[in-house]
């Protein structure tokens, strides 16, 4: 198979990589670019552990070809904290103990951020439906939902 050269932007940086035509974006991020935040839970779009933003849309990077991100803007969990400052979602996940093994966490954070970016004040039902494509085997969803609600409140300036 002939390799493909791809130019894209990842977390604001211009990145060039080479990949196989059938190689997923998830494999490119993890195996070629050393961005290990996105995880492979299933590889078939069911678990959301590989959640990534491509041109402003939340997607499963296991169901995107690396070749498809030519000329796009990719955002991964590695770009979420600003320097040493955690994003409010990351901070609230820690405070609410919304993670145990942590495999699902990057996916939940990316997906929750995509929700809050377009809906700063979601209801619990909206949060649960939005996150239905993110599976967690250990923590249980209540703490995760509460962490998202807390982060949303803080981002709205309602709590210190």
């Amino acid at each position: 198979m002939a390799s493909i050269a791809v130019s894209t932007t990842i977390n604001g940086d211009e990145v060039d990589f080479i990949c196989q035509p059938d190689e997923s974006l998830l494999d490119v991020l993890r195996n070629r670019l050393g961005l290990m935040g996105a995880k492979e839970g299933c590889g078939t779009g069911d678990c959301g552990a590989c959640s990534t933003m491509v041109d402003g849309r939340l997607v499963c990077s296991c169901l995107v070809l690396g070749a498809e991100v030519e000329g796009t803007k990719v955002e991964t969990i590695e770009g979420m904290a600003e320097g040493g400052d955690l994003h409010p979602l990351q901070q609230k996940f820690i405070e609410n103990a919304a993670l145990q093994c942590g495999i699902c966490t990057p996916g939940f954070l990316i997906a929750a951020k995509a929700l809050l970016d377009q809906n700063p004040n979601p209801t619990e039902t909206e949060i649960r439906f939005w996150l239905a494509g993110n599976l967690c085997r250990c923590t249980g969803y209540d703490k995760i939902v509460r962490a998202v609600q807390d982060a949303a409140a803080e981002m709205r300036g309602e709590t210190a």
């Binding site: 997923s24 070809l65 498809e68």
Partner: protein, 286 residues
């Protein structure tokens, strides 16, 4: 496998027509990439159509709404005029998968994947949607119902692809709805799906009715006789009971772990009744 990203329809169709071995169109990839990971998947060529101009646009024209074959289903919901005109089609498309899947999946892909349980298909069929099919011989309009033939099989010929789905213009007092039954509340394959599309006269009498059923046959079922029973009624209880019985009769499902034949037939009737009610109320509001 070769990956190509053409910038025109002509390039895309000639790539597809000239391919040695199996060639696939890549839209959202939410079916194709899952298949690609299987051991028995073989392809000589994958043609990513999303860089072709217009492919990611929803246009409102004299024909109606033209939905490019690269438009992710999430974008249907964000298009206010489309949502207002065809809420049933939009809600059916938005039932596909999760938020992540919505960011990629397309209605054309849902149609061409030719699953009997494809959620957007009964809604599009009830709506009278057409597929704009392009190929080496030019472009033709094909009713959406004629694209799938059997599970995994379509009527598209070598070199052909769907360029866009066209939903017709909407008269006043028209409404549509789609309902599906799944054992969970999200992220599951339809056990039965029902699309209903109605137009009403000024006194609220049904003037035209279209009903399509999903997951109760090898391909989407047009329940024409069932739909006819609604014409001239105001969806009185007896009319709804007649509709339900006719939809159950039109269903020829299989028994599997997701549901028995008897259950699926029954649910087809129940969902048809409920979807008809929603479509009727929506039509009355316009």
């Amino acid at each position: 496998m070769r990956y190509e990203r053409p910038e025109t329809i002509d390039q895309a169709t000639s790539l597809l027509a000239g391919a040695k071995g199996k060639a696939f169109v890549l839209a959202g990839g939410t079916d194709l990439l899952v298949r690609m990971k299987g051991d028995d998947f073989e392809a000589g060529l994958v043609v990513d159509i999303k860089s072709i101009s217009g492919m990611r646009d929803i246009a409102e024209t004299d024909e109606g709404f033209v939905i490019g074959a690269g438009v992710p289903c999430a974008a249907l919901n964000e298009h206010a005029a489309l949502h207002a005109a065809w809420p049933g089609v939009v809600e059916a498309a938005n039932l596909i998968g999760s938020t992540q899947i919505q960011g990629r999946c397309t209605v054309s892909g849902n149609l061409c994947n030719a699953s009997p349980a494809a959620d957007s298909v009964p809604a599009m069929v009830a709506a009278g949607a057409q597929a704009k099919v392009s190929g080496p011989k030019g472009t033709r309009m094909v009713p959406v119902v004629d694209i799938p033939l059997a599970p995994g099989k379509t009527s598209l010929e070598k070199g052909e692809m769907i360029e866009a789905i066209v939903l017709p213009k909407r008269p006043a007092r028209a409404g549509d709805a789609y309902l599906r039954f799944i054992p969970r509340t999200e992220m599951d394959i339809a056990v039965v799906g029902v699309g209903v599309n109605l137009t009403l006269g000024s006194d609220g009498t049904v003037e035209t009715a279209h009903v399509a059923l999903g997951a109760v046959g090898p391909k989407v079922v047009v329940a024409e006789a069932a739909a006819k029973t609604l014409v001239g009624t105001k969806l009185e209880d007896t009319a709804l009971a007649t509709l339900a019985a006719a939809c159950s009769a039109a269903s020829s499902p299989i028994d599997d772990k997701r549901g028995t034949v008897a259950f699926r037939k029954d649910v087809a009737g129940v969902l048809a009744r409920r979807a008809a009610r929603i479509a009727y109320d929506r039509a009355g509001e316009k």
